[in-house]
């Protein structure tokens, strides 16, 4: 195995380098804060002859995803990047990419949605597209951003899956922050990810086929069912690919990664860069003798319900920290977790915390507060307030 070069790079550079190692053929992209560095870097790689690919500098994110669809259906390996309003603009095409079973990979700089307009981090953009049929991965740090891009291509292109995938890195906290990253050698990635050679048909006059047919009520539901079967099959594929990645590159990935959960009464459930902060809070609380653990969701779609049930069932309380909100309901992860536990006799109390919207800081103390509130609910034996917002500025609310 080749040496893994140590570099100190921004998150966008990490996802761009991960993508470059996967040798995409076509990269249609449109710049948007905070993911702009991705298309810039890909353009540089192409301009310098480091990557044999074509950029398509489209006029909108809608056209970016449309061109991804055209190129992928022609048999090319395709990637793009976007964020926030850009993902909202391409929303229509996300469903068409997955419905046509095209393994496109998108790097995301997770950013809040307008209004008010805001360029900072939360997960609302990708959460709003959670039902689009894409696989969703969330990185804790830049290393994960790079590694997950490589894993995403391999999983998406697996013949049992054939679905698009997005890899989220948090706006600014990761996209614009320099971190130490180990970059795998090209020849090792080439072995891990062979060229994309779909066994199904592609757009080719030698074998004419119609893509994107009109599906009447006699067929539509079966198409959707087949798509759901594919994402269910991806559960095993993800485990296989993560295992092989660890064997080849030495870094372990799981759909859910635990920290100090074995004997924990209360477990914090997090996604993305807030996890590092939560881990520090767990260390501090453990030092005081509190029986607290941490579970990090790396894969949000498919939702790893069996893994979460196994990890969380033994706890008395679970604090689900959502960096998103469904107005009039709950945070998305909380809703999904409640659904996973719906038919279980033994289940922990679930509390939902909304935190970090539009770049609001989440501190170690925030998690200590979250822990305490969850512990209080466990002590009281009931959840009086299912959803609480963390770090509200009372002065602004007045």
């Amino acid at each position: 195995m080749g040496e893994q070069k140590a570099m100190t790079i921004k998150g966008n550079m990490a996802t761009a380098m991960g993508a470059k190692l996967c040798r995409p053929n076509v990269i249609p992209a449109y710049p948007i804060t905070p993911s702009t560095l991705f298309p810039e870097k890909m353009s540089e790689f192409v301009a310098d002859g480091e990557l044999d690919a074509s950029m398509i500098n489209v006029e909108s994110e809608h056209s970016a995803m449309s061109a991804c669809i055209g190129a992928s259906a022609t048999g090319a390996r395709v990637c793009t990047a976007s964020a926030s309003q850009g993902i909202a603009l391409m929303h229509e095409m996300l469903f068409i990419a997955s419905g046509m079973r095209l393994p496109i990979v998108m790097a995301v700089g997770n950013r809040a949605l307008s209004a008010p307009i805001n360029i900072w981090c939360d997960h609302q953009d990708t959460i709003a597209s959670r039902d689009s049929g894409w696989l969703q991965f969330y990185a804790e740090n830049n290393q994960e951003g790079l590694d997950l891009m490589i894993n995403a291509f391999r999983i998406a292109e697996d013949e049992r899956v054939l679905l698009p995938a997005m890899v989220g890195i948090d706006a600014f906290v990761l996209t614009h922050t320099m971190e130490g990253v180990r970059v795998p050698a090209q020849e090792d990635v080439d072995e891990f990810l062979p060229p994309y050679k779909p066994s199904h048909g592609v757009l080719d006059p030698k074998e004419p086929a119609t893509f994107g047919s009109f599906g009447t009520p006699d067929y539509y539901q079966e198409f959707k069912h087949a798509q759901v079967e594919a994402i269910e099959k991806s559960e095993a594929v993800i485990d296989e690919v993560f295992k092989e990645y660890k064997e080849r590159f030495g870094r372990e990935y799981n759909k859910v990664t635990t920290f100090q959960c074995e004997d924990a009464d209360i477990i914090l459930l997090t996604m993305g860069s807030m996890t590092g902060t939560a881990r520090e809070a767990v260390r501090k609380l453990r030092a005081k003798g509190e029986k607290v653990g941490l579970a990090k969701l790396t894969v949000y779609r498919p939702f790893p319900a069996p893994e979460l049930i196994k990890i969380l069932s033994g706890a008395k309380g679970v604090a689900v920290v959502d960096r998103n909100i469904s107005p009039g309901a709950y945070g998305a992860v909380y809703t999904d977790l409640a659904g996973a536990f719906a038919n279980m006799d033994e289940r922990p109390l679930l509390k939902n915390f909304i935190a970090g919207l539009g770049g609001r800081e989440i501190f170690v103390e925030s998690f200590q507060e979250i822990y305490q509130k969850t512990k209080d609910a466990v002590t009281a034996g009931e959840v009086k307030e299912p959803v609480e917002w963390i770090n509200m500025n009372e002065d602004v609310m007045r």
Binding site: H62, A67, P205, T210
Partner: protein
């Protein structure tokens, strides 16, 4: 058997009797030949030709959404080049007038500006026909549609037709032309020229819709011809976006009165002699600009 004998848009599709679009697509594919990949928009064309598990297409096609035939085609064209399969293969992006003049205009402009080797074909029937005859920026002045209905206070559509071909030509693209299903040889010649041209080409193809224009299904071609003979729709071609030096490809020896054209369709049935005179004047002025 020659390329012209190949039926690449098969019979048995679900177009209305007398559909101008069906004729247009069949003839365009005959001219372009089997080494063609096409993209199509959501709309009549997709509905009539791709109902799963059947297809009318003997060439590879992809339908993604309504507003993006041009950008999907851009992805196809770049991928074919990148994978070394573009040589000898035409990429044609089909759009209706709604998907071209209105909702797909941005994607079309982007594709033309970037210089993709794509022939964009707009098959124009002057309203949103698949959803039930709603007005579009392609709808001509005076036409009654379901969203520009004639009424006590309304003449029907109140705005003139958007000059889409001239706008596309203004991008400086190598080849732009207007064509009509009433002049098949002219249409095919232009298709061949368009696909043989390196870089983007735009074809604006006039294709009556019996259902939307409310005329008999046996008079589609006749009405398309009247549009040209009256000067309502002018057939021309321009190279490198030079619309000051465009070439008129079908010049009627003596223009027929627009009344003949307008009276052939019930969408114009409400127009008074005064209204028709007004339209005649506008057509006269336009034809004068074109030099006939």
């Amino acid at each position: 058997m020659t390329k012209e004998d190949l039926e690449l848009f098969a019979s048995g599709h679900r177009a209305c009797a007398g559909c101008g679009e069906g004729t247009a697509v069949r003839q365009i594919l005959k001219a372009a030949g089997p080494n063609t990949v096409a993209t199509i928009c959501t709309g009549c064309l997709e509905v009539i030709s791709t109902g799963y598990p059947e297809t009318a297409w003997e060439i590879p096609i992809i339908h993604a959404a309504f507003e993006n035939s041009a950008s999907v085609a851009a992805g196809v064209e770049v991928a074919l080049k990148e994978l070394g399969r573009k040589e000898g293969v035409n990429v044609i992006a089909f759009g209706g007038d709604g998907g071209t003049f209105d909702i797909g205009f941005q994607a079309l402009s982007g594709m033309l500006e970037r210089g993709h080797d794509i022939t964009y074909v707009c098959v124009d029937n002057e309203a949103y026909m698949n959803t039930g005859i709603q007005r579009c920026s392609s709808t001509p002045y005076g036409a009654s549609t379901t969203t520009s209905p004639v009424g006590k206070l309304s003449i029907g559509e109140s705005r003139p037709k958007k000059p889409i071909a001239a706008i596309c030509a203004a991008h400086g693209i190598p080849y732009t032309a207007t064509a009509s299903i009433a002049y098949i040889n002219d249409l095919k010649k232009k298709v061949k020229k368009a696909v043989e041209t390196e870089g983007p080409a735009f074809l604006h193809v006039f294709a009556p819709c019996p259902t939307g224009w409310r005329h008999g299904s046996d008079s589609t071609i006749e009405i398309a011809r009247l549009a040209v003979e009256t000067g309502v729709f002018v057939l021309w071609e321009a190279e490198d976006g030079d619309i000051c030096n465009l070439k008129i490809t079908q010049k009627p020896k003596k223009r027929k009165p627009v009344k003949d054209y307008l009276k052939s369709q019930r969408r114009f049935a409400h127009l008074s002699d005064e209204d028709i005179e007004h339209i005649q004047k506008e057509v006269d002025e336009k034809c004068e600009k074109y030099g006939f």
